[in-house]
């Protein structure tokens, strides 16, 4: 029983990490309708930035999370404006090729510039664990989990209570009608891509206390992120949060009760079942935005 509770705790906390990465991905997909295959590499770029800010200036990853999020906002916006925007009327395959191309280019550029070395950010705060009632809770994981929930809440408020947020939702629901209503769709796309990328910049800061950075680090998370996004419903932030928690739990429980190497079998099986029985995902409204 004790082990089960610990497994559940571990699973939920792991879900927090997946959530914070998936939120940005689902936002971009929900609004711009582009699957950003370079999302993992944006995480990698964010983590390198956090690493170097720590190395040069001694900034703690939690401190550099905000500037890095801002930097990634700009990178995401630039990618949307100069790479995706020209391809918006092209078939979806072409857009996918473009993002996959960016992903490969960034990964190998990082390998070229930084080398394959695994670089850890060594800090005190945000590492280690506490014992609560006989169970262990990782501090870094706990911070990530709480931040994921706060982020979803903040984005929800942004989307429902602000004028810009309303524009986002309008574009997600019906692009042409929104344009007719005077919304500058291209500008919204740029901002949305930026916000989605900023979320993964925040993730970079939070995850840097737990994982070292190396050029392929994005690939370790991205497949799970895609499963989460599809499971939760593409475009739904609550979907991303709950999907992530579910996947985290599956990861933890199947790792213990089946075998650690069959974890992916478990959650990809769920992925396939969702695609068969509920392709729009748990919270998806087909073309919904939140």
């Amino acid at each position: 029983m004790e082990i089960l509770v610990q497994l559940i705790i571990n699973g939920l906390l792991l879900g927090g990490a997946f959530a914070i990465i998936s939120i940005g991905l689902t936002l971009i997909f929900g609004l711009v309708r582009v699957i950003n295959f370079a999302h993992g590499e944006f995480l990698m770029i964010g983590m390198y930035m956090v690493y170097f800010l720590n190395l040069e200036f001694g900034w703690h990853p939690y401190v550099s999370a905000l500037p890095v999020a801002l930097a990634l906002f700009i990178i995401g916006a630039v990618m949307q404006r100069y790479i995706i925007q020209p391809l918006l009327s092209a078939p979806a395959d072409i857009q996918i090729f473009a993002t996959v191309g960016v992903s490969i280019a960034l990964l190998n550029l990082a390998l070229l510039v930084f080398g394959a070395d695994v670089r850890p950010v060594v800090v005190e705060v945000g590492t280690g664990s506490v014992g609560v009632g006989g169970y262990t809770i990782g501090i870094g994981q706990w911070v990530t989990f709480i931040t994921a929930i706060v982020l979803v809440g903040a984005l929800h408020l942004f989307l429902t209570r602000t004028h810009l947020g309303r524009a986002f939702r309008a574009v997600a629901q019906q692009r042409d009608a929104a344009a007719l209503m005077g919304v500058n769709v291209n500008r919204i796309y740029i901002l949305a891509f930026g916000v989605g990328s900023a979320c993964v910049g925040l993730a970079a800061g939070l995850l840097s206390t737990q994982y070292p950075v190396f050029p392929t680090v994005g690939t370790y998370f991205i497949l799970a992120a895609f499963v989460v996004v599809v499971l939760g419903g593409m475009g739904s932030m609550y979907g991303a949060l709950f999907g992530a928690l579910i996947i985290g739990l599956v990861d933890s429980l199947s790792g213990y009760y089946f075998a650690p190497d069959l974890k992916e079998v478990a959650y990809f099986s769920i992925f396939i079942l969702i695609l068969i029985f509920r392709p729009t995902g748990l919270f998806g409204l087909g073309r919904g935005s939140e």
Partner: protein, 404 residues
């Protein structure tokens, strides 16, 4: 008419240039391919391994080359088995290399050697450990380094002969957990470990594969805790080693001994990432730089030369292993006095050096399958952020330390 004249003129010019390029005859370079993972996830150790071969070649070229020929290395980047096949084909049929050095990764080597064997080009494996590479009945694949079987057996022998006595525990009383990454490397090594453990009558309580790309091993660690494992044998790459140690510490899992078999356990970067968390971890590995010179003559000279050439200390023992292997194969190529594969094979079979005469402590004697049988493996331990040889006694620099 004018067209014809122009055509003739350029044809003549071309012929003159071609004749000029043939030039005064000079010994053509000896072309050797270097097939390693230079990019992708294995790039760090692939590059480190290549550096060893590169140094051996540079040293040899400075000393006059092989029978008067300067050696030219043709780098080939193979991230995975598919690319390995493509690159091996390019080396053998486009670049026409006389031989290939490689490859650090067993799956890359396995694929590339098939191509080389079919093309009749000798393949000198300097670092990959999967036994299958030299047990397919191939005639032109040779390997200088120990195999997974050697490593695996050494890890259990070390537990029985060095660690058990030091802890004053009967080996049969250990509760052993074998955890490994689920690729060719992990499955091969753990397979031999399980076999050897059975031969020695040891108690293996858990055997758990996991994906090297896992972002969470906490459920695996809970399993180990549940099974009350007190010895962990791990076969892992770098990121999973870091993840395991971090999460084991967080979960409060402290077995009496953790023994790695190369991979992530060999790397200085792993120790830097983990700090004191890694102290006490054992590693069966290619010879380490902190080894008694009595067991490995020439090791410090290698380290000095490496620092001079690359500006840092060696990042792992792979460069040394590749260096010693490449040196031996260059000797063999010189002895063969030819790039004919049969003459090279004869030279390989005839080449002999006693154990303890090279910078890794290895000797050389190749069996029919092309595998070097005079390999030695030492037990090392991370102490104070350094990997130190702790056994057997002749090679030891310090005794093993255990958590209180």
């Amino acid at each position: 008419m004018r067209f014809l004249a122009k055509y003739c003129a350029s044809a003549c010019a071309g012929a003159i240039i071609a004749l000029g390029a043939m030039g005064p005859s000079q010994a053509a370079d000896l072309k050797i391919g270097a097939l390693y993972p230079f990019s992708g996830g294995l790039a760090l150790l692939g590059d480190e391994s290549f550096r060893g071969a590169e140094m051996a070649v540079a040293e040899r070229n400075a000393a006059g080359g092989v029978n008067g020929q300067q050696i030219k290395l043709f780098k080939a980047d193979a991230v995975d088995a598919n690319q390995a096949v493509g690159e091996a084909r390019r080396l053998t049929s486009v670049d026409n290399v006389a031989a290939i050095f490689g490859s650090y990764s067993s799956s890359i080597s396995f694929a590339a050697t098939q191509v080389a064997e079919l093309a009749g080009v000798p393949y000198f494996e300097l670092g990959a450990i999967s036994d299958e590479i030299t047990s397919r009945g191939y005639k032109n694949v040779y390997r200088s380094n120990p195999t997974a079987k050697d490593f695996s057996e050494a890890s259990l022998d070390a537990l029985v002969k060095i660690i058990g006595p030091a802890l004053k525990i009967e080996p049969k009383d250990f509760r052993i957990a074998i955890i490994y990454e689920d690729g060719l490397y992990g499955t091969t090594v753990s397979g031999f470990q399980k076999k050897r453990a059975k031969e020695l009558g040891l108690n293996v309580v858990e055997s758990l594969p996991y994906s090297a790309k896992a972002v969470d091993l906490s459920s695996l660690i809970l399993r180990l805790k549940g099974a009350k494992a007190d010895v962990v044998l791990q076969t892992s790459y770098q990121t999973d080693t870091i993840l395991y140690f971090k999460q084991a510490k967080a979960a409060g899992f402290t077995p009496k001994a953790v023994i790695g078999v190369g991979g992530g356990y060999s790397l200085l970067d792993t120790a830097k990432a983990l700090g004191s968390t890694m102290d006490g971890a054992f590693d069966i590995d290619f010879p380490q730089y902190a080894t008694n010179e009595a067991g490995a003559p020439g090791m410090s000279a290698f380290v000095e030369a490496y620092k001079k050439r690359y500006g840092t200390a060696p990042r792992s023992g792979h460069s040394l292993a590749n260096y010693v292997g490449a040196q031996a194969f260059l000797d063999i190529l010189a002895n063969a006095k030819s790039t004919d594969k049969d003459k090279i094979r004869a030279a390989v079979m005839a080449y002999e050096k006693p154990v303890g005469t090279t910078a890794t402590g290895w000797g050389f004697k190749f069996n029919e399958a092309g595998q070097n049988e005079r390999v030695t493996l030492y037990l090392a331990q991370w102490q104070g952020g350094k990997l130190i040889t702790v056994g057997p006694e002749k090679a030891a620099v310090a005794p093993p330390i255990f958590p209180k």
